[in-house]
């Protein structure tokens, strides 16, 4: 199933990074309980950079706030499901399971079990590949450029996430602001402050009709 294969590179990369900076079981606990690739990446990278825990927590939640939109969009399609499945359905919500299910429900009658199946098709392999990545990350000797596992993966994730010109400018602005704000805002709060400012400016940019 291509859906299942698509998570493999991310899971390996997350595991390799997390495995260097926390215990194996903690890296895996995060995969099991947080189950959100980008937030897990950022949390692991902020831990690697020695950030305080409060900004890590808030930044992770900020990244995951888009799950509210996905959850709200999914709700009308799974209304027929028994209530006891709701806690499970909530936890299986991910970018991939959401995209596949919404595509399916636009063509065929909504079926909660299709959604649950697509969620499990992501959840189970995600656990396996992150565990494999963590084992690799902890096992590689130093001097193999392992310090670069994190920046390297961030570079690729950025390429995958930034799809239009506006998103590119917002990202560049966030990067520049996070460096400029560093002396003013203590430590890793600068990432969050830069994100809030850049995303807000990005929203106003869309309102100017001549740009896109």
């Amino acid at each position: 199933m291509p859906l299942t294969l698509s998570v493999a590179p991310f899971g390996l990369a997350y595991g390799a990074i997390a495995g260097q900076h926390m215990a194996f079981w903690q890296a895996q606990l995060m995969s099991l309980t947080v189950f959100a690739g980008t937030a897990q990446f950022i949390a692991a990278s902020m831990i690697a950079q020695g950030a305080a825990y409060l900004p890590i927590l808030l930044t992770g939640i900020l990244i995951n706030m888009r799950l509210v939109l996905m959850s709200a969009a999914l709700t009308p399609h799974v209304k027929g499901a028994p209530r006891r499945l709701y806690p499970l359905m909530a936890h299986l919500l991910a970018d991939e399971s959401f995209a596949v299910s919404m595509a399916e429900f636009s063509r065929r009658p909504a079926d909660p079990w299709f959604y649950i199946g697509s969620g499990l098709a992501i959840f189970v392999p995600w656990q396996l590949v992150t565990a494999a990545g963590a084992a690799l990350g902890a096992g590689l000797p130093t001097g193999w450029g392992l310090e670069y596992a994190l920046p390297g993966s961030l570079i690729c994730l950025l390429f995958l996430l930034v799809r239009d010109r506006r998103a590119m400018w917002v990202s560049l602005l966030a990067a520049a602001l996070s460096l400029l704000l560093r002396p003013l805002v203590s430590g890793t709060w600068s990432t969050m402050a830069a994100t809030l400012i850049a995303a807000s400016l990005g929203v106003t940019w869309k309102r100017w009709p001549s740009r896109s």
Binding site: M30, I61, R66, A167, L172, A174, S178, L179, G202
Partner: protein
């Protein structure tokens, strides 16, 4: 211990973000600008985080061309652009970083 609590806190927050619209708040709709804002957040966080990872070395800004993190970013960007694959990009960056470490010890 503190790290475990952080992980569980992030898990709880994330779970509520997934669960609440499905159960309690199913009739709430966010305005377009808020949806738009949320869509821009992950890219901005990634970029800010990357800037810190590449350009801040030991609490100092390192804008020199001999910064090995910056040099290794060039092949990593090229591989990311061509392959869009995280593992290849990561390996290219690691190889370049290890190589730069040998050239400029």
């Amino acid at each position: 211990m503190a790290l475990t609590l952080l992980i569980l806190g992030l898990a709880l927050g994330t779970y509520l973000l997934r669960l609440l619209p499905l159960t309690a708040l199913s009739r709430v709709t966010l305005p377009t600008w808020a949806q738009d804002w949320l869509s821009l957040v992950p890219g901005a966080v990634l970029a800010a985080s990357l800037a810190q990872a590449l350009l801040v070395q030991g609490e100092r800004l390192a804008l020199s061309w001999r910064n090995p993190y910056l040099l290794a970013a060039i092949p990593a960007f090229l591989v990311a652009w061509r392959t869009r694959n995280v593992v290849w990009t990561m390996l290219a960056g690691m190889a370049a970083y290890a190589l730069v470490g040998h050239v400029f010890p």
